[in-house]
Amino acid sequence: MNSNSLVSIDDISRDDILDLLERAKFFEEHPDHKILDGKVVATLFFEPSTRTRLSFETAVNRLGGRVIGFSDASTTSSSKGETLKDTIKMVSNYVDLIIMRHYLEGAARYATEVTDTPVINAGDGANQHPSQTMLDLYSIYKTQGKLTDLTITMVGDLKYGRTVHSLLMALRYFNPTFHFVACDELKMPKEYKEFCDANGIEYHEHTDFSPAVINASDILYMTRVQRERFTDIMEYERVKNLYTLRADMLEGSRQNLRVLHPLPRVNEIAYDVDESPKAYYFEQARNGLYARQAIICKALGIDILKDAAI
């Protein structure tokens, strides 16, 4: 196993997070720094995810590295019954770094156990997606100038949304106050509320997406409410528009408030919000590039702020 691998946001410390943010900031200022000259990176997408794959591949290309890989497992030997272990061992012979996405939970953790090549988890089923969390943290840090003592409101699908769970856990180091806004069927699972209790994190639960909650927030983290999550379709029809953000709802909000969303959005953010200076979700996606450049360099053991002649 390579200790530079990044499988879960839980594996990295407060200092690691701050170091990565500092390096993401560097890459935002120097996105085309050719530090990966001669390196080959594999992007193994056993499950298709165009957005994440393009972001990672752009990150490697802009740093001057080369990319090999696949975007769909149906074109590979895993469709012939090859085990994940064998695929990882084979690819390890060719590359300096493996970036992988898999539909099975724990796949990336297992991959780190069968190879000495560093592995970055680009999503394993409903489990972990640490680069998404890093870009969320970077977006918060950039827009607020800090990560500490912020009020963060999470809205929509808090039950199945892995991005909100990972973000919640990563923020444990930074004394947040959370508001969880969701219908009963999609409310924050008990284990994460217990996690807040155990870490002394203040949180409040709401079923109403009310002005009072919005106006108290520094960050509004919106998520998509998906029809297939509901056992009762009538319930879905009843709640689907209750957690939609419209521009007029931001009127009394704080100046520093920013609206984040992991994308793709459907109808949970009305299009009139796009015009608001508080809408930040497209920039958030761009921040993914810098956050991933920082993660890639860390996984390869390259410290851009020390090693590089800038």
Partner: protein, 153 residues
């Protein structure tokens, strides 16, 4: 005469291991976990025997085998109060309680069908996250389960 028969039911060992105070409902799971079905030495398994502490209990006597501590401790997951007696030359030379290890490798099947361990030829790994309620967490997918609901593979 009656007392003799009782003795016979739980005949003394010359050398080996007695695993006592195993709850009735997990006795055969314990047998499976320890791989006792593959042993060639004398094995006596008793169940629903009367016990002052448990009401009724199960007991396993294995002749000529002393299990390594990390092996015997595996049953702590299902029988946390089991007592281990090491017998040498008809004497109990060591008596101790099983202790739950920090990590359990390859005994429990993860209940998450989308977990990598249920889809690759590999061993499961669980860490104990709550000793009081005996709750374990899959090292790979993160799913937690209490020991009474854990699937023994």
């Amino acid at each position: 005469m009656k007392a003799d028969k009782k003795e016979l039911a739980v005949a003394a060992l010359c050398n080996g291991t007695v695993i006592d105070h195993v709850p009735n409902d997990v006795l055969f799971k314990a047998v499976k976990i320890l791989g006792i079905e593959n042993l060639k030495t004398h094995v006596t398994i008793g169940n629903n025997l009367s016990s002052k502490r448990l009401g009724t209990k199960g007991i396993i006597k294995v002749a000529d085998v002393e299990f390594p501590e990390d092996v015997i401790n595996r049953i702590a997951l299902i029988a946390p109060h089991a007592k281990i007696n090491i017998i040498r030359d008809f004497d109990v030379v060591e008596k101790r309680q099983v202790t739950l290890p920090d990590e359990i490798v390859g005994i429990v099947k993860c209940g998450n069908p989308k977990c990598i361990t249920n889809n690759e030829p590999m061993r499961t790994r669980f860490s104990v996250v709550d000793r009081d309620n005996v709750t374990i967490r899959c090292h790979y997918c993160g799913r937690t389960v209490t020991s009474d609901k854990a699937i023994i593979d």
